[in-house]
């Protein structure tokens, strides 16, 4: 081990000017404040994982809950498929003008009720207005 400690005057000066000092009184208060801040920071950091878990939970919930509702959907679709002579895949679901939408609703409503009617206004022999097909079939009440 090297025992070179420098000249005596240097060692004396270093001992004198690097001597221990007393601590200011407010250090304990600072430590307590720092400890509280550290706890707050820890709590703040704990919030992020909780927020992430809640977000993922909400996202999964918003995905799964409608899926749960769709359990009955095949039965409904099967029933409607048997009702409807028109294959749903061929339906044009694009937005139509109001008059087109109204005629579509009327036509499909009639189809679902088992009366594929052509909605043409006619005047019967007795002079009353009505659906020609209904009159032909002897229906006294308009089905629309």
């Amino acid at each position: 081990m090297s025992e070179f400690d420098g000249p005596r005057w240097l060692r004396d000066e270093l001992k004198r000017h690097l001597a221990p000092v007393h601590t200011p009184e407010l250090l304990w208060e600072r430590i307590q404040a720092g400890s509280a801040r550290q706890r707050r920071v820890a709590v703040n950091w704990a919030r992020w994982p909780v927020a992430a878990i809640l977000t993922v939970g909400a996202a999964l919930g918003s995905y799964w809950l409608p899926s749960e509702g769709r359990v009955t959907q095949p039965a409904i679709e099967a029933a409607s498929a048997t009702d409807s002579p028109m294959p749903t895949a061929e339906w044009d679901l694009r937005c139509a003008p109001p008059s087109g939408r109204a005629s579509f609703y009327r036509a499909n409503l009639a189809l679902r009720r088992g009366h594929p009617l052509r909605l043409t206004a006619s005047v019967s022999e007795d002079g009353s207005n009505g659906c020609q097909t209904c009159h032909v079939r002897g229906l006294t009440q308009h089905h629309l």
């Binding site: 090297s2 070179f4 221990p20």
Partner: protein, 190 residues
């Protein structure tokens, strides 16, 4: 177990979360921790930060202290790490401020002021502050705390030979930088 009786009880109480024990442990070691921070950084505000950081670390990891080493050694390691962390942060933020301040101080020193002891103190501390952190730390542990080579080696996690080598280099640098004080200081002794 290396801990003395009272200190072991204090540590055990701290591990149970006793606030009074924390306070007692703080009172026992506060001057030691603050002095190392002050002598290493040369700045009272930085020394307060270092001491605060050291005690917060001590209180948060006291559960892990098993008493295999002396508490002083454990504490010295914490304060050394805090000092070096602080130094790294300062180097990142203000790389030129130290040199600039040292230049200003050197210009302000007049020949008449140099005879004053406070000026000698400023000069000596300024010379110590200009040492590299590893050399400065061995000087502080040696002269502020009066630790032996083996104790410094245990704190720094290196060999006693490394400590001796660093002390040797630090003394040579300080002797060269403080050479102008030699006649004055030697004259006082005679």
């Amino acid at each position: 177990m290396v801990l003395e009786g009272t200190e072991r009880e204090l540590v055990t109480a701290c591990q149970r979360g006793d606030r009074e024990a924390f306070r007692a442990l703080f009172e026992l070691h506060k001057d030691r921790v603050y002095s190392i921070g002050l002598r290493f950084s040369g700045d009272p505000a930085a020394a307060m930060d270092i001491a605060q950081d050291t005690f917060l670390k001590l209180f948060s990891c006291i559960q892990d202290f098993r008493g295999d080493a002396r508490l002083e050694t454990f504490l010295y390691r914490l304060v050394v790490n805090s000092c070096l962390d602080r130094k790294r942060k300062d180097r990142r933020l203000l790389p030129l401020v130290d040199d600039w301040a040292a230049t200003l101080l050197a210009k302000e020193a007049s020949p008449s002021e140099r005879v004053l002891q406070s000026e000698v103190a400023t000069t000596v501390r300024s010379a110590v502050e200009k040492l590299t952190p590893d050399l400065r730390m061995v000087i502080v542990l040696r002269y502020t705390e009066g630790l032996a080579y083996e104790e410094i080696a245990e704190v720094l996690g290196c060999s006693a030979g490394t400590v001796a080598s660093r002390l040797n280099r630090a003394h040579k640098m300080l002797q060269r930088r403080l050479a102008h004080l030699a006649p004055q200081c030697g004259g006082e002794r005679v």
